[in-house]
Amino acid sequence: MQWFLASIGRTFLTFIAATGRLSLFAALGVSHCARPPYYPRQILRQMVDIGYFSLPVVGLTAIFTGMVLALQSYTGFARFQAQGAVATVVVLSMTRELGPVLAGLMVAGRIGASMAAEIGTMRVTDQIDALVTLSTNPFKYLVTPRLLAGTLMLPLLVVVADIIGVFGGYVVGVYKLGFNPAVYLDNTFEHLERIDVISGLTKAAVFGFLVSLLGCYHGYYSRGGAQGVGTATTNAVVSASILILSFNYVITELFFAK
C-alpha cells in the first residue's frame, strides 16, 4: 500500500516537473520572437515544410472526411427525415472540429516527428554545441523559427482542409445522394457563422504551436544516440496528439460553453 502511494506521488512529481520544464521551454522560445537577430531563411524553410509539403496529406484526409461525413449523416438523419441538415453538418463539423483536429494530428505525425528527429540528431552529434561555439543561440536558430512557422502555417492548412472537406461533402451529396447542387451550397453557407471559422482557426494556431513545441522540446533534450532520438520522436508525436485532443476540448469550452 505504501509502495503504491509512493509510486503515485513520484509519478505526480515527475509530471509536475516535466510540465514546468516544458512551460519554461515554451516561454524561452516565445521570448526569442521579440529579440533580434532573426533567421528569415530558417523561418521560410520551416514554413514551406509545414505549409506546402503537408498539403497532400492534409488534403487527402480532408476530402475523405468530408465525403464520409456526408454519407454518415445522410444515412443517420434519414431515420428521422432530417436529410436536409447534411450540408450544415458537414460544414460545421469540418470548420469547428475535424479540420483543425485532423490537420493537427496529421501534422503532428509528419512535422512533429521530423522536428524531434532532426533536432535530436543535432543534439547527439554535438551540432547544437557547435552552434553555441559559433556564437549562435540554438534556441533562436532552431526552436523559434519552428514555433513561428507552426503557429502561422497550420491555420492556412486548415482553411484549405475546410474547403476541401466541404467540397468532398458536396461531391457525395450531389452525385451520390442526389441533392440539388444549388440547394446544397445554399444550405452549406446558410448556417455557417463567423465564430465557427474563427474558433477553428484559433484551434489550428494553438495546435500548430503545440506540435512544433513538442517536436523541438523532445528533440532538444534527447540523449543517448540513435535510440534516444527514436524515443524522442515517439514521445513528440504521442504527447502532441494527446495535447491536441485535450486543448481541443478546452478551446471548444472557451468558445461555445454558455
Partner: protein, 258 residues
C-alpha cells in the same frame, strides 16, 4: 610563464557527473600564441575540460579566464561575444547536415557577421582551399564526404572567422596515418598564418609532438605534468612514461573488469 600573458587561465576546475568525479581542481595556462596539447587516457575528462572552458558544461567550482576576463557564469549574450574569439573543431566534426559544405564553413560569417551570401561564399571557398579542398566540395552535403574530408571541412569552419583561440578535440583520431599527418600540417600552418592560440586534445603522440609547443598530461582530474614538447621523453614522470610508451603495467591502472 608571466601572469598577464595568459590567454586562457583555468584554476581549480571541478566537474562531476553524479558520484563520478571527472575534473578535480584542474589548473591550466595557455599563453598568447602558444599551442598546448593535452594528452591523457580515454575517459579521463579531456572533452569535458574543453566543454567546461567553452561554457557547454557548467563546472561545480573553479574559474576560467579568457584574456583576463572571467567567463564562467556569464549571461548568454556576453558568452556569445566571448565565443566570437573562439573556433572549435569537435571530436565528431559536428557539421550541420542540413547545410551545404560551403554554408557550414561560412556559418558564422553569414549568421553572426551578417555578410552577404556571395561574399560569404567566396570567403568559404578561400578557406576550403586553405585546407586543400576544391570549390566543387563546397556544393556537396556533409553526408557525402569521407571522414577525413569532414575533419578538413570542420577545420575550415573553425578557422573561417579568423579566431584568436582555436580548440581541437582529437583532430586526427580515426584517420589513416597519412591523412592524420596532413591534418597536423594544416593545423600547424593555419595556426602560424592566423597567429592563434590553440588548445588541443589527442591521444595520438605523433600528432602531439607535431603541433604542440607544450604538452600537458591529464590524469584523475588534474594536470599531473606539463612541459615543452621536446622534453616529453625525458619527463622523469612515471605516468607520462607509461602513457607515451603505451605500457599496460605502471602507475596508471586501467579499470578493466572481467
Amino acid at each position: 610563464m608571466r601572469e598577464g600573458a595568459a590567454k586562457i587561465r583555468v584554476r581549480g576546475l571541478s566537474k562531476s557527473f553524479g558520484p563520478k568525479v571527472v575534473l578535480a581542481g584542474l589548473d591550466l595556462d595557455v599563453a598568447v600564441g602558444e599551442s598546448v596539447v593535452v594528452i591523457g587516457g580515454s575517459g579521463t575528462g579531456k572533452s569535458v575540460m574543453l566543454k567546461c572552458i567553452l561554457g557547454l558544461l557548467e563546472p561545480e567550482a573553479g574559474s576560467v579566464q579568457i584574456d583576463g576576463e572571467e567567463v564562467l557564469g556569464l549571461p548568454a549574450a556576453e558568452r556569445e561575444r566571448v565565443n566570437r574569439k573562439i573556433g572549435m573543431l569537435f571530436q565528431g566534426s559536428a557539421l550541420f547536415d542540413s547545410l551545404k559544405v560551403w554554408e557550414n564553413v561560412a556559418f558564422s560569417l553569414l549568421q553572426v557577421s551578417r555578410m552577404d551570401r556571395s561574399a560569404g561564399k567566396a570567403r568559404a571557398l578561400d578557406t576550403l582551399a586553405r585546407v586543400g579542398l576544391g570549390p566543387e566540395v563546397g556544393e556537396l552535403w556533409p553526408a557525402e564526404l569521407s571522414g577525413g574530408m569532414q575533419k578538413r571541412v570542420a577545420l575550415a569552419r573553425a578557422i573561417a572567422s579568423d579566431p584568436e583561440i582555436i580548440f581541437f578535440d582529437e583532430p586526427t583520431t580515426g584517420l589513416d596515418p597519412i591523412m592524420a599527418d596532413v591534418i597536423n600540417e594544416m593545423i600547424v600552418k593555419s595556426v602560424r598564418t592566423l597567429g592563434a592560440t590553440t588548445l588541443s586534445i589527442t591521444h595520438d603522440l605523433a600528432s602531439a609532438r607535431k603541433i604542440a609547443d607544450r604538452i600537458a598530461m591529464l590524469h584523475q582530474g588534474r594536470i599531473i605534468w606539463s612541459g615543452p614538447a621536446r622534453e616529453i621523453d625525458r619527463s622523469d614522470n612515471p605516468y607520462v612514461d607509461q602513457f607515451i610508451h603505451g605500457r599496460a603495467e605502471g602507475p596508471i591502472k586501467m579499470e578493466v573488469r572481467r
